[in-house]
Symmetry: C2
Subunit: 304 residues, 2 copies
């Protein structure tokens, strides 16, 4: 498989698979969810169970292509709808969970429920996103912009594993993973830089398989060959990173929001850790971003 | 004075002042420093004392406009050169200090020397930068991307004061200052968000004069009106921030490097706190970035 380097290639690839993934969406009665869901139906890579207030979901049955691939389950209360959606995943009726117009905390409560939820005991819940940046030569994955404030070493290792698996789904055989810091210097003032030393050692020992992992590196040295050359930094990443692992949520979140705003990048993201990918875009994300996130989830659910 | 909204307006404004600021540069024997220094001489807003190895600085005397406004002080040892540059500032012979091809730590040692340095006791040393982003409608100031890892409340207050004074130099009468976080929610999990509550209270009590300060806010809500509207956030910043105060160095540094790389922004920056502005650009910054930093320092040294 040739690596997928744009969102267009991603959705084209899904279309060629000729198999609709089954998505359950909770309260998708907002314009952006509707755009994403209808387009995924039209492109032929997903079918949907919509759980929510049926009176708010009638526009999903306008065309027969929609009604053929969309089933509405009338549960007006959003918390109940969330629990029902989780139940549908657990019983094998859906491959992917998608958030609509429901508060994130309320949806997470259903996902994280110890007895009836979707996160196996001991699994790390984290957010993996991918950006298509007009000024970068391929897709750029990054984690974590949304869930874990200060990852522990073990959480960082899990974040890297999720990224590696997703890169494989995207056809990237040897992902280049950059561990982000302000500089290339390791310092006990910055505990994450000590974690990075451990992680690079694990990678060199072959623990992560066929990957290139290096750090601490800054965003410039990770993504621009020239910067490393000027600084005299010889990193195997070589300005060609596939994945950026951020030290904390503030830096990951700043990256996501400033690059999407100022570099006009398109973004997709999924929650990792639960037994199925969860599309959990925020209110201010575009319809296109929700659509690409759905596509990313459909690709990632292949081996779950 | 009309607000300065681009770097071109900044250098034009300096040219109209018809007064050269006196800059002492330490070891400026690199191509980017040479570009910045020669251009500042040509534009007429600065004259220079160059302290370093004279054998490496001969290209600064090629034209008479250079030799008329550039004096070379031959001190081959870079640490001695740094100490001499600091002495020249202390004795009133220079208004601004500029770093060339010398290790940042070595230059800082001379600046921070308790007895012979440039930082008054009790003053906070911090970095203030400003970006010209093609997709933003004015200059955007931010702090701290380079010096203080985790600012205390008092350090944040000083960072804001430096930003306010610099905004005034740029003709911004009522700076809009956004205190950056991942969301608009205050939480004890994120101690900086508690600092923000204090700072907003101080601002509302008039402590900072004629400013608008709000936070916690994310980068999108700070710089894009539409995002706030979608989220239903009514902030007086209104997507029109002049200044972003970042919670920690990792997020500030990520902002600076990712926006300069992916949004092709131009950057200027100076160290604040010492008795004169210090231009301390890094090896990977462009000649243009050094030039704009010089210009920012020349404008900021007005009232020092």
């Amino acid at each position: 498989m040739k690596p997928i380097t744009t969102f267009n290639q991603l959705t084209e690839h899904l279309t060629t698979l000729c198999k609709r993934k089954r998505v359950v969406a909770v309260c998708p009665n907002d314009a952006h969810s509707e755009y994403a869901i209808k387009r995924a139906v039209e492109e032929g890579f997903a079918s949907f169970l919509l759980v929510g207030d049926a009176r708010l979901l009638h526009s999903y049955t306008e065309l027969s292509i929609y009604s053929d691939n969309i089933e509405i389950i009338d549960i007006p209360d959003s918390d109940e709808a969330a629990r029902e959606a989780v139940r549908l995943v657990r019983s094998g009726k859906a491959d992917i969970l998608m958030k609509g117009l429901i508060n994130t905390d309320n949806l997470l409560r259903a996902i994280l429920d110890k007895e009836h939820g979707l996160l196996p005991a001991g699994k790390v819940l984290t957010h993996l996103a991918v950006m298509q940046i007009p000024t970068y030569h391929k897709l750029l994955f990054f984690s974590d912009a949304a869930v874990i404030p200060r990852p522990t070493l073990q959480q960082r290792i899990e974040m890297i594993w999720y990224a590696i698996r997703t890169c494989h789904h995207f056809g990237i055989e040897q992902p280049r993973i950059s561990l982000i810091h302000c500089t290339e210097k390791v310092s006990s003032k910055f505990p994450h830089s000590l974690d990075y030393v451990n992680i690079v050692e694990l990678a060199e020992a072959g623990e992560f398989g066929n990957v290139i992992i290096d750090g601490p590196l800054d965003v410039l040295t990770s993504c621009e060959r020239e910067s490393g050359n000027i600084k005299g930094i010889a990193s195997p990443i070589n300005g060609d990173a596939d994945v950026l692992i951020f030290p904390n949520i503030e830096s990951g979140n700043t990256f996501y929001k400033s690059v999407s705003l100022f570099a006009q990048a398109e973004m997709a993201g999924v929650l990792q850790g639960p037994i199925c990918p969860v599309v959990l875009t925020s209110r201010s994300d575009s319809g296109l971003s929700k659509y690409y996130s759905l596509a990313m989830a459909c690709l990632s659910s292949n081996d779950i």
